[in-house]
Every structure is written in structure tokens, then in C-alpha cells.
């Protein structure tokens, strides 16, 4: 007899009694599967017909749209967004297919899914941010197609992968443009296959893997950083005046906000994490957010513009200051709003901070001091010095493995920053002025992803051996 106190175990351990299929079940299943396939093919064809019909009505807009979408009639075109998002964005709509034709064209939605969406990646996909949510599934956001000639007024697009970047499929995107002052998005984070956020500077959220996106209220502030762990998302909301792609430039004040991953209003995190400024109160500041999620709940860290380090739990309760003067302050933002002079990374056991000096006169070297903390940022000790070649853009740490992205390539340290070697030089095809890598992130001690600074390469770089070797993968359909 089972332990009377443990009916859960008894229920779980009870053998499942097989239930044999009634005669003919396999044949019925096979016929229904064939019908499913046929219906899907029909729907794809219908999608092409809708677009062609629109092209007849509005040749000026839709002609280039067809070119941009290629010949295969993909369901997720560059700029294709979720129907629910359209009313919010088409208000500005000059050049919008809907606004001009008066015909409602709602591209079918596509979501992040372990089985893929079945839809191709829009042509000319230029990734600006990448996120992975496990050993297989990830997404990139960027601009695709030809600006001004996409399925909507915007060319912002998403692609997903279920095999760690080897192949990609199309995913619906927020209906907004690239960063331009206070408008647009450039960065992406997913917590799981359901909940995701596109940000920088606007903030958009999906709860169905990208199928539908809605814009979140940010109270006139710009989102310069966002991370997610456990069951919440945390974001840095900033007061900035930067124009064009430099949306995170000229920011003067930073506050930490949070929202449950399942949805709900963004609220300020309690504690001294609001209206953070540089010591002098000047502009050109940034802040860095790192979450170290773990089964016990995890901890978040915010490196403030003044160099103070704050930390707190990931359940929405108050954060506190742990160190008023970390070894360096974030300084002016680099690409994507991330700090240029203090790069923070870590895992539940250890934080790593890379402090960079001013750039050399030639503009191609800088000193990079690596420090580490094993007590949650309370104290820091020297870990080493990274090679001076290249300007640092991003760092990732998993245990003793530290990977540093620079505009000269990717450096790897296997001993916490004590010694380094270049494991991936700058991509050969990068255009002049945008060499190297803008981002690197390890999703496990073995697996990681890096993003070339030049989105025009259409690539992400993947490692599966702890950063020793990297392979470029084209973000495109086979």
C-alpha cells in the first residue's frame, strides 16, 4: 500500500495503463494529417493572392513590396506585424498599405515555437539583437526588406530558431520602426516561448511567442536595457534626448521598472533605484542591468551612472545599494544603449566587471581591467587585464569562462580574466567603420552567441565549445 501521506507520489508512480487505438485509427489520423497539410498549402496560396490583390489596387506601394518579399510568397514579410498591433501604429501611417488602399491587409501571425513557424525569414534580414531561452530556441530582431518598401510602413522583423541558430524561420514583429529618437525598437529578449519584449527605445510585449505584440506605456521615458528571469522582466527607463539611432545618448536619469512576465503594468522597483544620475548630474550616462536567475529565485544587479552598484531579488520587492563605488562607472553608452566603460556580467556565483580606459589616439586600443566579485558586488578584486587591441562592447561570464566582444574580435579567458586569447577575429565582410562584434552572450558554459557590429552581414556567430571556436550562421531561410 502507498504511504498514506503521499498521494502525489502514489499518483505519479502508478503505471499508466495503455489504451489501444480502435481499429482504423492510424488510417484516419493519416487522412486528417493530409487534409491539414493541404489546408496549410491553400492558406499560403491565399496569402499570396491577398498581397497581389493589394498590389493591383496600390501599385506604387505594393510593387516593391512583392520584390522585397521575394518570389516564394512568404507569410511573414519584412515589416509584417500582428493584426492586434496595427491600430496603435497605423495612425501615423503615411506609406502604410492599409492607409493608402483602404483595404485591410493583415499578415498571418507567426510565433516562436519549438517546431518553427513554417514561414520563411524576410529577405535582407539585418539583426541588431539576439536572445536565447535555452539550448535550442532563440530569436533575432532587426530590419529587413528594403526601407520604405515593406509589408507595412515599417521594416522591423523577427526571426526564430529552434536549433541554436543553424536554421531560422519568420516570426511576427512589432509594428514600429528602427530606433529614431524616442521611437522604434532594436533589442529583443524572450523569457520562454510565450513571453517576450522588444525594446530600445520603445517597449513592446508579446505573450504568444511573437504572434501578437502590444506597445507598453513607458511614461515618455526610453527603455535602454531589459532583462528577464524567473517570472518577471526588469527594465531601465531613462530620460534621454538623443536623436536618430542614438536613442540612448544624452540620457540624464535612469530608473528601474519591473513587470510580471505574464503581463501587467510596469511599476517602479522599490528602493534607491529611481532617478539615478551621474555624480555630477551631467549627460552622456548609461546604466547596466544583469539578472542572475537561479532555482532559488535569483538576484538582479544594476550598475548606476554614478558607479554605485544596487541589487535585489527578482520578485518585485525592494532593491538596496551594496557598493557606492564599484571599480568603474558605466560612462557614455555604446551601441544598443549599453555602457562603454564598465561592462558587467555574471552568474549566481560571481560577477565580472570589465573597466575600459579612454581610447588610444589611433582609436583602436584601450586598456581593459577585469575585476571580479564573489560576494554579490560588496567587494571586488583584480582578475587580470584583457588585450588592449579593440574597443570592448560586451562581456559574458559563466563560471571561470569570460568572453569579451570587441571591435577587433572575440577574446576568451578560461581562468576568470587572468589570461586571454583571440578566438574570433572581426568578420572579414564587415563594412569599414563597423568592425568586430557588438554583443556576446553565453547561454551555458559551452554554448554562446555573438552578433557582428555590422548588421549587413546578416549573421550571428555561434559557439558550442565554450567560446574556443565560432561559426557564422546566416539569418535567412534555406
Amino acid at each position: 500500500m502507498s504511504d498514506p501521506r503521499n498521494s502525489i507520489d502514489a499518483w505519479l508512480n502508478a503505471e499508466v495503463e495503455p489504451l489501444a487505438p480502435p481499429p482504423g485509427t492510424f488510417e484516419r489520423v493519416r487522412r486528417r494529417a493530409r487534409r491539414h497539410k493541404a489546408n496549410r498549402a491553400l492558406m499560403s496560396a491565399a496569402g499570396v493572392v491577398i498581397v497581389i490583390a493589394a498590389a493591383v489596387a496600390v501599385p506604387r506601394v505594393a510593387g516593391p513590396l512583392l520584390q522585397g518579399r521575394g518570389q516564394a510568397g512568404p507569410s511573414v514579410a519584412a515589416g509584417a506585424a500582428s493584426p492586434s498591433a496595427q491600430p496603435q501604429a497605423t495612425g501615423q501611417g503615411n506609406g502604410s498599405l492599409n492607409a493608402n488602399s483602404g483595404t485591410k491587409v493583415t499578415p498571418p501571425t507567426s510565433s516562436l515555437s519549438p517546431g518553427g513557424s513554417g514561414n520563411p525569414v524576410p529577405a535582407n534580414f539585418q539583426p541588431t539583437s539576439v536572445t536565447f531561452i535555452g539550448p535550442h530556441i532563440g530569436a533575432v530582431i532587426g530590419q529587413a526588406g528594403t526601407p520604405g518598401h515593406c509589408a507595412t510602413a515599417y521594416c522591423t522583423s523577427l526571426a526564430g530558431t529552434s536549433d541554436y541558430g543553424t536554421s531560422w524561420y519568420g516570426v511576427s514583429a512589432p509594428l514600429t520602426g528602427p530606433p529614431s529618437g524616442a521611437l522604434g525598437v532594436s533589442q529583443i529578449r524572450f523569457l520562454d516561448v510565450h513571453d517576450g519584449w522588444a525594446f530600445g527605445p520603445q517597449l513592446w510585449v508579446t505573450h504568444d511567442g511573437g504572434g501578437h505584440w502590444t506597445q507598453e506605456q513607458t511614461y515618455g521615458l526610453r527603455v535602454t536595457d531589459l532583462e528577464t528571469a524567473g517570472d518577471r522582466a526588469f527594465a531601465v527607463f531613462a530620460t534621454c534626448t538623443g536623436d536618430g539611432p542614438g536613442y540612448a545618448a544624452d540620457c540624464t536619469s535612469f530608473s528601474l521598472y519591473t513587470s510580471p512576465a505574464s503581463g501587467g503594468q510596469w511599476q517602479p522597483v522599490p528602493g534607491p533605484v529611481a532617478n539615478l544620475q551621474t555624480a555630477s548630474g551631467g549627460a552622456a550616462a548609461s546604466a547596466s542591468l544583469v539578472l542572475t536567475g537561479d532555482p532559488s529565485g535569483g538576484t538582479g544587479y544594476l550598475l548606476s551612472p554614478s558607479g554605485a552598484l544596487l541589487r535585489g531579488p527578482l520578485n518585485g520587492t525592494a532593491w538596496t545599494a551594496v557598493n557606492q563605488a564599484a571599480p568603474c562607472a558605466p560612462g557614455a553608452p555604446g551601441a544598443g544603449g549599453q555602457p562603454a566603460t564598465a561592462l558587467l556580467a555574471g552568474d549566481p556565483a560571481r560577477l565580472v566587471l570589465v573597466c575600459t580606459s579612454a581610447t588610444s589616439a589611433a582609436g583602436d586600443t584601450q586598456n581593459k581591467t577585469v575585476t571580479e566579485s564573489t560576494n554579490g558586488g560588496v567587494s571586488w578584486s583584480g582578475g587580470g587585464t584583457a588585450p588592449p587591441a579593440g574597443l570592448a562592447t560586451s562581456v559574458s561570464a559563466q563560471g571561470q569562462v569570460v568572453v569579451l566582444a570587441t571591435d577587433a574580435g572575440i577574446y576568451l579567458s578560461g581562468n576568470g580574466g587572468g589570461s586571454w586569447r583571440l578566438t574570433q577575429p572581426s568578420p572579414a565582410g564587415a563594412v569599414a567603420g563597423v568592425p568586430g562584434f557588438s554583443y556576446v552572450g553565453m547561454t551555458s558554459p559551452a554554448d554562446g552567441v555573438a552578433l557582428p557590429a555590422d548588421p549587413g552581414l546578416h549573421e550571428v556567430f555561434i559557439t558550442t565549445d565554450g567560446g574556443s571556436t565560432w561559426r557564422p550562421h546566416l539569418v535567412s531561410s534555406p
Partner: protein, 164 residues
């Protein structure tokens, strides 16, 4: 091409014969109804075969689909509401386990939050490892472990049992 189709069909039929009885039995314990169990198992196989050529892990996909269909069935049948009522009714529990108690445990699992429920069913009930469940749900392994712990703790608390 014809040979490819034959090979695919043979592989699909082999998987069907090997997996259907256990999948349908698994579903039956969750819905307590043979007809619904067959309906859900058949639909899961239909969706699997419709995407057969593009799947790396058909078994995982099968159980993911079945889990989603069971969830939909629970929603439709309103059991989730009844389960919540049973949680608050504080009815005294039979101190000895017997099969009738399946219904209580099932109702409690139905009432788990969706993110805990999927991980719980796939790991503890369908027998997938934490790593596989993480891949199936697209969550980090650590998150899945935490979800499993929380799910178990909630169920034990609801039954008035001591946590491990």
C-alpha cells in the same frame, strides 16, 4: 519521391504503434474518459504527421501537443473552476490512497498555474528529463527545476502533506 513517402509512412506507422497506447493511456488518466483520450491522442498524432518532415523530436512534439490539448479540454469542461473550488472546500482527505483519489490529484494538477502544470506533466508524468522538458518548453533548465519544485510543493500543500 515515392520511396521517400513509403519510408516516411512506415516510420510514422511504427511510431504510432509504439506510442499511441501509452499516450492515450496517459491522456486518459488526465481526462478520465476513454473517448476523450482517443480524441486527444488522435489529434496529437494528426498534428504530428502534418509536420512530420520538419520535426527533429517527434516524441517530444507529440506530448507537447497532447499536453496543450488536455489543457484546452480542461478549460472547456470547466474543471479548472471546480478544482479551485475543491481546493478551498477543505474537505477532509481519505487517509489511505486508492484509485478514486486520482480525481483529487488530477483536479489539483488542473488547478496549477499553466507554467507549472506543463513542466509537471511532462517531467513527472510523461517521464521526460529536465533537459528535455527545458528544450520542449523553451525555458532554462534551472527555471524548469524551480517550476517542478514549486508545483510539487503546491500540490503537497493542497493535500496537507509535508514537503520534502
Amino acid at each position: 519521391m515515392a520511396r521517400l513517402r513509403t519510408v516516411d509512412r512506415n516510420a510514422a506507422e511504427e511510431l504510432f504503434n509504439a506510442s499511441y497506447p501509452r499516450l492515450a493511456g496517459w491522456v486518459r488518466r488526465l481526462v478520465d474518459d476513454d473517448d476523450t483520450a482517443h480524441e486527444i491522442a488522435s489529434e496529437a498524432f494528426t498534428r504530428l504527421l502534418a509536420r512530420w518532415s520538419s520535426l527533429d523530436s517527434p516524441q517530444s512534439y507529440l506530448y507537447m501537443i497532447a499536453t496543450n490539448l488536455v489543457r484546452d479540454h480542461w478549460r472547456k469542461s470547466g474543471r479548472e473552476r471546480r478544482a479551485i473550488r475543491s481546493l478551498t472546500a477543505a474537505a477532509p482527505l481519505d487517509p489511505t490512497y486508492h484509485p478514486v483519489q486520482d480525481v483529487d490529484v488530477r483536479a489539483l494538477i488542473e488547478a496549477l498555474p499553466a507554467r507549472l502544470r506543463s513542466a509537471f506533466l511532462l517531467h513527472y508524468y510523461a517521464g521526460f528529463g529536465v533537459r528535455e522538458v527545458a528544450a520542449m518548453l523553451g525555458r532554462p533548465e534551472g527555471t524548469v527545476k524551480a517550476d517542478l519544485h514549486h508545483a510539487r510543493a503546491r500540490l503537497k500543500a493542497a493535500l496537507g502533506e509535508p514537503d520534502e
